[in-house]
């Protein structure tokens, strides 16, 4: 409990307050602007974290992450244009409400739901994280090997698009992580005698290239709809009846978001879809959904914020990022010389509790800002992507140069930017690659140490309770779609 209170002390330092505010404002802005998502923004801003205190840096990056969830809502409701993938379902009822002149109601409910979902999740995080970290202190290499494999494969298979391609991308990420000196034997691997590659590829250029530049290049080919004239916002807060109606949706959304956020690959997008589906199924008149049901806004918006927050749990307690954005946080912590894992709570309590508490504060800031600033955000939407693109490109290239004053890093970003663009063109998600790259060396070290422990017997992983359970769970999850397919085929045959 002492840590929790000290954590508030950390957040209330003026510098950290400022970084929290900067983070949530940037997050809201990029949430409003279609195109760059939170992952791209965090990737582009990674170089800044070199010059900032670790706690402040993570507070700011976290702010960008959950601020973006708020911002995405605004465009979904007013313009039928989801700024973020996690706000897509909000469009159905949010825009319908806006057309009825109740945009203020939709935004208000979304803000309140987000706030409650975020807060419930933070409370869960506060209670659960130290417990998980405590258990994880006993984990050895086999447990880490199993958990990181579980994390990478689940992220790869839950995402949208081809699972096969996602796993291949993850494999390439693991391969890229082996470039450089082998820590066990000192041998140089895949460096092609280049001095620049002798110490391996840095995480920053990979993330900035694949997420940042790749996204910018991909968006150059005009893909986005023309922005429509926004619906006017009457400054109407949700009425008591609205609040009563969405009470259940917010409660359920909080729980769904919290639980799905913790799971690898879950995260904000999936939880918003699930929360919406649950409300629609539970509703007495499901036909109201899509025509302006307040619950249809409350449920997904609550869930995506709850999930955004709870997805910090695996990162801060196990050192396993649950999604691509968390992989970036992982990288940012490594830049600061902090290895996320079960020791984090005891070794860096200021960071752990500071970041958690900054989310309470950030959520309050967002709640305060989101409604009065709607007009400003609508104006920002008029900024053309064509103007933003060159500016973000400059920030990216100059930013990566400043990290080590290396021209080579700029070329790495360009190479990975082109790779990111081509991957998207050919249906490969860059997320699994970055995540696998981040976990690559952890995973290899854990696997090799485990082999030493087991005397060279790979089946040894199944002899330890936790690593065995995780691996069996993984096999079940991976086999499930195949089994389902077989069952369906057999049924079809019977019918014929």
């Amino acid at each position: 409990m002492g840590g929790l209170i000290d954590g508030f002390g950390v957040v209330l330092e003026p510098a950290n307050l400022l970084y929290c505010l900067i983070g949530v404002v940037i997050g809201m802005l990029i949430g409003v602007l279609p195109g760059l998502g939170p992952a791209a923004t965090i990737a582009i801003l990674l170089p800044i974290t070199y010059g900032v205190e670790p706690v402040s840096a993570i507070i700011m990056l976290a702010g960008i992450f959950y601020g973006a969830q708020y911002g995405g809502t605004i465009t979904s409701v007013l313009l039928r244009l989801p700024g973020e993938a996690s706000s897509v379902v909000t469009v159905f009822d949010g825009y319908a409400l806006a057309k009825q002149g109740r945009a203020g109601t939709a935004l208000g409910i979304a803000a309140i739901g987000s706030f409650i979902g975020g807060t419930v999740s933070i409370i869960g995080l506060t209670l659960l994280a130290p417990v998980v970290a405590g258990v994880a202190l006993d984990f050895g290499p086999p447990e880490y090997a199993a958990l990181s494999l579980f994390g990478v494969l689940l992220v790869a298979t839950v995402g949208n698009g081809s699972r096969l391609k996602a796993v291949i991308a993850a494999g390439l990420g693991l391969l890229l992580a082996t470039v450089g000196r082998d820590t066990f034997t000192g041998a140089s691997r895949f460096t092609f005698d280049s001095l620049n590659l002798a110490d391996g590829i840095d995480f920053v250029p990979i993330a900035m290239g694949l997420f940042g530049l790749g996204e910018i290049l991909y968006n150059l080919e005009e893909r986005h709809h023309k922005v429509q004239a926004p619906v006017a916002v009457a400054n109407a807060w949700p009425s008591r009846a609205d609040l009563r109606q969405s009470r259940g949706a917010i409660a359920r959304g909080s729980v769904i978001g919290f639980v799905l956020g913790v799971l690898p690959g879950g995260g904000a997008t999936l939880s918003s879809l699930v929360a919406y589906a649950v409300e629609k199924r539970r509703a007495k008149e499901p036909e109201r959904f899509g025509r302006g049901a307040v619950e249809g806004v409350a449920a997904p918006e609550t869930a995506n914020n709850a999930a955004a927050t709870s997805s910090f749990i695996p990162l801060l307690t196990l050192g396993i990022p649950a999604n691509a954005t968390m992989a970036l946080m992982f990288g940012a912590l490594l830049i600061q010389g902090i290895a996320p894992g079960p020791q984090l709570v005891s070794e860096h309590p200021d960071l752990f509790w500071g970041v958690i508490n900054s989310m309470y504060l950030g959520n309050i800031l967002l709640l305060i800002m989101s409604i009065p600033l709607v007009g400003v955000f609508v104006k920002i939407l008029k900024v053309r992507p064509a103007v933003l693109a060159p500016i973000t490109v400059l920030i990216t290239l100059l930013g990566v140069y400043t990290v080590a004053n290396q021209v080579f890093d700029m070329f790495l970003v360009i190479v990975f930017g082109v790779l990111g663009y081509l991957m998207k063109k050919f249906g490969f998600e860059p997320g699994p690659l970055v995540l696998a790259f981040v976990l690559g060396s952890v995973m290899e070290t854990a696997v090799r140490q485990s082999l030493l422990i087991f005397g060279g017997n790979p089946m040894g992983f199944f002899t330890r309770p936790i690593s065995g359970t995780v691996l069996v769970a993984l096999i079940v999850v991976l086999a499930l779609p195949g089994v389902r397919l077989l069952v369906r085929r057999r049924k079809e045959k019977e019918r014929v």
Binding site: V91, F92, S162, I168, T178, A187, R189, V407, R448, G456
Partner: protein, 161 residues
Amino acid sequence: MSEAALREELAEDRPPHAGPWSQLGAAVVAAVVGIAGVIGSLALGLGRLTQPGPGLWPFVVCVVVTVLSIILALVGRHGTDTEQFSRSSVQTAVAVLTLVVFASVLPLIGFEIPSLLLTFVWLRFLGKESWVSSVAISVGTVVAFYVLFVLLLQIPLPRLI
């Protein structure tokens, strides 16, 4: 409006999918990387399970990549998740070229002129902004960057002035 129709409309305005050859091409490229990795790992030395060599882990990873790529080549041909390259893809290629030029000349002549030209080309020719706003925004951006990076943050960027 029905949910399905809205979903359809919201789907990004992606160009038509590129057909079986692009799927096959992607799978072949991935398989080639995998096989090259397998060969490279073998050259590094696998060691034994009781004493893993530097090549063992990359070997395992590359075998998985290769096998999955072959499966992709066999079953993935009818996927619709690849995108055709269109005339606007040429723009992307031009954009990449400007970045390469930028990174090449930056250490020689400082960041000001390359930044100015990069922003201008992107605004005027890739973004189809007007001449006036292209000039104004690119000059404004470089001045802002100069103030931020050089004067305020004092980051050692290569520069003219």
